[in-house]
């Protein structure tokens, strides 16, 4: 049984957006804080720290997780993906991100990283989602400036474009 003692910093290694990273964390350190303060990955935003606002959402072994409700030590040996993993290269946006820009799916951008990660995971499971399904998915995130209409349009448009570019 793995035992990581309270008050001591333990070495953690995991794959972050495809590259191996390592750092030290006490058991009580949240994964969101580890990503931001130990690894400098400030694209992971933190809002409520109670799993409600959704901006810290990441993928842990391919599954959506609130990084504020995950301890850094839990990521050890696993794969973590953030919004940065979505873009094909530095400074480039993927089709979903482009679509968010086109449809004004963000204003201040605070909620955006989590919403993009969620939307990618959602589109992976739902190739042809209904508007209602998209809105239900977005209910797991809070946006306080633009509202959700632009996001819904962007996600639906991306789904349609991806479906038409994949041979049936």
């Amino acid at each position: 049984m793995l035992e990581l003692r309270a008050g001591e910093r333990h070495q953690i290694t995991f794959t972050l957006d495809g590259a191996e990273v390592r750092g030290f964390a006490e058991p009580r350190m949240l994964l969101s804080d580890f990503l931001r303060y130990e690894l400098g990955r400030t694209e992971v935003h933190v809002g409520c720290e109670q799993g409600v606002c959704g901006t810290c959402t990441i993928l842990l072994d391919g599954k959506l997780a609130r990084s504020c409700l995950t301890f850094a030590v839990q990521a050890s040996g696993r794969s973590v993906e953030t919004v940065r993993g979505l873009s094909p290269a530095d400074g480039k946006l993927n089709d979903l991100q482009e679509s968010f820009r086109r449809h004004h799916g963000l204003q201040c951008g605070y909620c955006t990283p989590g919403i993009l990660v969620s939307s990618e995971a959602f589109l992976r499971d739902n190739a042809k989602p209904s508007e209602r399904a998209v809105r239900e998915m977005l209910s797991g995130h809070l946006c306080r400036c633009t509202g959700y209409a632009g996001m819904v349009d962007a996600i639906l448009e991306t789904a349609t474009k991806r479906a038409s570019s994949t041979p049936a």
Binding site: P27, K63, L69, F71
Partner: protein, 275 residues
């Protein structure tokens, strides 16, 4: 908004988890998805010396069909249960209620057993388990016992679990021939805690209504078949017995009204899909 210091334990199997719990008793907490536990730790409403993480125990991540019930293991996520192809056929009440639990983003890690072990009075799964007459498997290093839902949950966030016991599985009775099922809830937003949630099971000879979010725990009421003209009086009596309390989301009177309105709706719906 950061938890207090704790020692993190990741057992390799169930036995190790139970032995750790046996040694540490009230000093330890079991964590599966952590969707209820970690917010409470972040708020420091709860602190623990030892955190036993069972989320990686593959032997507890299962959906198992037995003759008249479905057993769900302690590490099985809500998302996997919701995606189980036989859910609508075997457990129609769950397939109606589970989309109301949290969100797409939280069901991916939140577990069925965790929600039941947490015992929030407004949670959907404890209500479904009680309404269906399901049970909870409690295991310790010394023994194993099975409690029916009504004996397991004794109040708000309170259960009959002993300090060295862990909820290793829950068992939901499968659809009964001729019975109809319905679920409804009122929440401020989709995915929020229910102000009032109701579940009905109706057959030709019996009506059962379960209500969550009003009393300290999910509460059931059984009637022999109710004629259309008898429903409102029956629900009114039940609503007053449940009482309800005032909080920031709703006052007791509004909650009782939801019992009357939503109660009627689900009884009628369940009646329609019976036979």
């Amino acid at each position: 908004m950061k938890p207090k210091s704790f020692t993190y334990l990741r057992p390799d199997n169930l036995q190790e988890a139970l032995q750790a719990l046996h040694r540490m008793r009230d000093d330890a907490r079991i964590m599966a998805g952590g969707l209820s536990l970690v917010p409470m730790m972040n708020f420091r409403l709860l602190e623990t010396k030892y955190l036993i993480d069972i989320s990686g125990l593959a032997s507890l991540a299962y959906i198992r069909e037995a003759s008249a019930e479905i057993e769900i293991g302690a590490a099985e996520t809500q998302a996997n249960v919701l995606a189980w192809p036989k859910l609508a056929k075997s457990l129609p009440l769950l397939s109606l209620a589970m989309p109301h639990i949290g969100h797409f983003q939280t069901r991916s890690r939140g577990t069925v057993c965790g929600s039941i072990a947490h015992a929030d009075p407004s949670s959907e799964l404890p209500l479904c388990l009680a309404t269906l007459g399901g049970s909870v498997v409690l295991q310790s290093a010394r023994a194993r016992r099975v409690l029916v839902a009504e004996e397991f949950q004794i109040g708000m966030l309170a259960t009959a679990r002993q300090p060295d016991e862990m909820v290793t599985a829950v068992r939901f009775p499968t659809r009964k021939p001729g019975a109809g099922y319905a679920f409804a809830e009122m929440a401020q937003r989709h995915g929020d805690f229910a102000v009032c949630a109701v579940a009905a099971v109706v057959s030709e000879t019996a009506v059962r209504l379960g209500v969550g979010g009003v009393a300290e725990k999910p509460t059931l009421r059984d009637w022999p078949a109710l004629a259309d003209g008898e429903i409102d009086d029956a629900l009114n009596d039940f609503a007053w017995e449940l009482g309800g309390s005032d909080d920031i989301h709703a006052n007791a009177g509004y909650r009782r009204d939801l019992v009357r309105k939503l109660g009627r709706r689900v009884i009628e719906e369940a009646k329609k899909c019976s036979n």
